[in-house]
C-alpha cells in the first residue's frame, strides 16, 4: 500500500501555529453573529465526525464500505454533459425575461421588475467570480475538502487546512464589501455608506440577515448538512461546479438528491418547526 505523504505542511511549525491561531482563535471568539458562529461550528464539527466515522482507515471500515466505491474517483467526466448543463442554464436565463413580461400590469410591478433587471450585472459577475474562485483554490475537488475534514490525517501528514485558509483569504474582499453597506461598516462613516444596493434604484434595501436566534431548527439543519457534507465532500457550490464541469455523478445523483432533500426539508420545516400561533 502506498501512503500519500503530503509536504512540509506539518513538519514546519510556523504554518501550524498560524493555523491554530486562525482556526481556534476565530471559533473561540463569540462576537456579533453568534447564530452564524454556532451554525458553522455545528456543521464543521458534525462533518468532521462523519468523515472520521466513514474513513477507510478505521478498523470498522468494512461496515461503512457501502458508502464507498472502488471505481475511478469523481465519477466519469463528460465534456458533452458539461456543455449541455451550461447550455440549459444559459437558455433558462435568456428566456426567463420573455416568459414573465406579459404579467406586468401595474407601475409598481414594472418598477420592481426593472430593479430585477438591474440585478443582472451583479449576479453574473458574482457567479463568474465564485466559479473562478472555486476552480483556482481547488475547493471543487472533494479530496481537498476531505483532507480538511479528516482529522486523522494529522497523524500521517495529510491534513490540509487549506479550506480554512481559503475562507480566511476571502476576508478582505468580503469585508470591503461590507464597508459600503449602511449599518455594517467599520471604517467608513455612515454618510459614505450605501443605504440602497449600488445597482438598484431607490427603495430597495440590503437583505443582510439580522436574526440572532439559536434554536433547534438551526442545529438540526446544520447537523444534517454536516453529515451530508462529510459523506461526499460536496456542498451546493462545488456540486454545481462539478455538474457544470461534466461530472455525471453530480448531475444525475447529487442534484436529484438535493432537490428531493430540499423539498423534504421545507416540508419538515413547515410541519415540525412551524411558528407557534397563539390562539385567543
Amino acid at each position: 500500500m502506498q501512503w500519500h505523504t503530503t509536504s512540509t505542511l506539518f513538519n514546519n511549525p510556523l504554518p501550524h501555529f498560524i493555523h491554530v491561531i486562525i482556526g481556534h482563535g476565530i471559533c473561540g471568539l463569540a462576537r456579533m453573529s453568534k447564530r452564524s458562529l454556532v451554525a458553522t461550528c455545528t456543521f464543521t464539527g458534525v462533518s468532521m465526525l462523519t468523515t472520521f466515522l466513514t474513513s477507510p482507515l478505521r478498523s470498522w471500515a468494512s461496515v461503512t464500505s457501502f458508502l464507498r466505491t472502488t471505481s475511478a474517483p469523481a465519477g466519469s467526466m463528460s465534456p458533452a454533459a458539461s456543455g449541455l448543463f451550461m447550455a440549459a442554464c444559459v437558455v433558462a436565463a435568456m428566456i426567463a425575461p420573455a416568459l414573465s413580461a406579459h404579467r406586468l400590469t401595474t407601475k409598481l410591478e414594472k418598477a420592481a421588475a426593472e430593479n430585477e433587471d438591474r440585478k443582472t450585472l451583479g449576479a453574473s459577475l458574482s457567479g463568474a467570480m465564485f466559479a473562478a474562485g472555486l476552480a483556482i483554490s481547488g475547493m471543487a475537488k472533494a479530496s481537498k475538502v476531505h483532507d480538511f475534514l479528516c482529522i486523522s490525517g494529522m497523524s500521517h501528514g495529510s491534513y490540509d487546512p487549506t479550506l480554512m485558509v481559503v475562507m480566511g483569504s476571502g476576508i478582505l474582499s468580503s469585508w470591503l464589501g461590507y464597508q459600503y453597506v449602511n449599518g455594517w461598516s467599520m471604517i467608513r462613516p455612515p454618510e459614505k455608506t450605501l443605504s440602497c444596493p449600488a445597482a438598484l434604484s431607490g427603495g430597495a434595501c440590503f437583505a443582510v440577515p439580522t436574526s440572532s436566534v439559536i434554536n433547534a431548527e438551526l442545529l438540526t439543519g446544520n447537523a444534517l448538512f454536516g453529515v451530508g457534507w462529510g459523506l461526499t465532500g460536496i456542498c451546493p457550490g462545488p456540486a454545481v461546479f462539478a455538474a457544470a464541469a461534466g461530472n455525471l455523478n453530480a448531475i444525475f445523483l447529487w442534484m436529484p438528491g438535493f432537490a428531493v432533500g430540499s423539498y423534504v426539508g421545507l416540508k419538515i420545516k413547515e410541519s415540525l418547526f412551524a411558528p407557534k400561533v397563539k390562539t385567543a
Binding site: F85, S173, L231, G257
Partner: protein
C-alpha cells in the same frame, strides 16, 4: 467604489497564476469567493448563499421562470456554468483539474448511495437550517477575524496617540491608507505562510 474596483482588479490579476501547486502558495491569493460575495452584496443587496440560490432554482423551476423576482438566480447560475465550462474544458491544463489525491487509499470515493444520501441530507439540512455555508462562513470570518485585527490596531493607535482613530477616517486618503494597511496585513500573513513553505530555511 474605487476601492472595490481596485480589489476586484487585483484579485483577478493575482489569480492568473494557475500553478498545479497543491500547497497554500497558489491559494494564498485567491479571494475570489470573498469578492463574489461582496459583489453580490454591494450591487444587488443579497447575501450569497449557494444553497438558497440553487434550491429555489431547482424546486420550482417553471414558476420561478415566470416570476421576475427570481430571474437573477438563473443569470447567476448561467454565468457560473459558463465560467466553469470555459475553465475546465479550455483554459485549465488537465493536470490542474485532475484529482490525483482521490486515488490514494485513505481518501474515500463516494458511491452511488453516498451521493444520493449526501445530496438529500445537504438539501434537507440547508432548508431546515436556513441557509448555506458560502455566505455564512465568509460572513463570520469577515467580522471575527477583521474585528480582532481592527480592535488590536485600535488599541495600538490609542496607545500611540490619544486621538480617536475612528473619527479620523473621513477622507479618501485615510481610507486608502487604512485599506493598504489591512490589505497587506491580511495578505501579509499569507505571504508569510507562502515563504515558510517554499523557503523553509528562512523560517528557522
Amino acid at each position: 467604489m474605487i476601492l472595490l474596483t481596485f480589489c476586484i482588479v487585483f484579485e483577478t490579476s493575482a489569480s492568473e497564476k494557475l500553478t498545479p501547486d497543491p500547497h497554500l502558495s497558489s491559494l494564498c491569493y485567491d479571494s475570489q469567493t470573498g469578492g463574489s460575495a461582496s459583489v453580490l452584496l454591494v450591487l444587488n443587496g443579497t447575501i450569497m448563499g449557494a444553497s438558497g440560490i440553487l434550491s429555489n432554482t431547482i424546486l420550482n423551476p417553471f414558476e420561478q421562470l415566470k416570476d421576475p423576482t427570481n430571474r437573477w438566480r438563473y443569470t447567476y447560475w448561467a454565468s457560473f456554468a459558463m465560467t466553469v465550462n470555459l475553465f475546465v474544458n479550455y483554459l485549465a491544463p488537465p493536470s490542474f483539474m485532475a484529482d490525483n489525491r482521490s486515488l490514494d487509499v485513505d481518501v474515500p470515493v463516494s458511491s452511488t448511495l453516498a451521493y444520493l444520501l449526501g445530496g438529500f441530507l445537504v438539501g434537507a439540512g440547508t432548508r431546515i437550517g436556513n441557509g448555506c455555508t458560502t455566505g455564512t462562513c465568509l460572513y463570520i470570518f469577515v467580522f471575527f477575524c477583521v474585528y480582532v485585527i481592527w480592535l488590536s490596531l485600535q488599541q495600538m493607535c490609542r496607545r500611540v496617540s490619544s486621538m480617536d482613530f475612528v473619527g479620523k477616517v473621513d477622507s479618501p486618503l485615510s481610507n486608502l491608507i487604512i485599506f493598504t494597511i489591512f490589505f497587506f496585513l491580511c495578505n501579509g500573513i499569507l505571504l508569510l505562510l507562502y515563504s515558510t513553505i517554499h523557503f523553509p530555511t528562512l523560517s528557522m
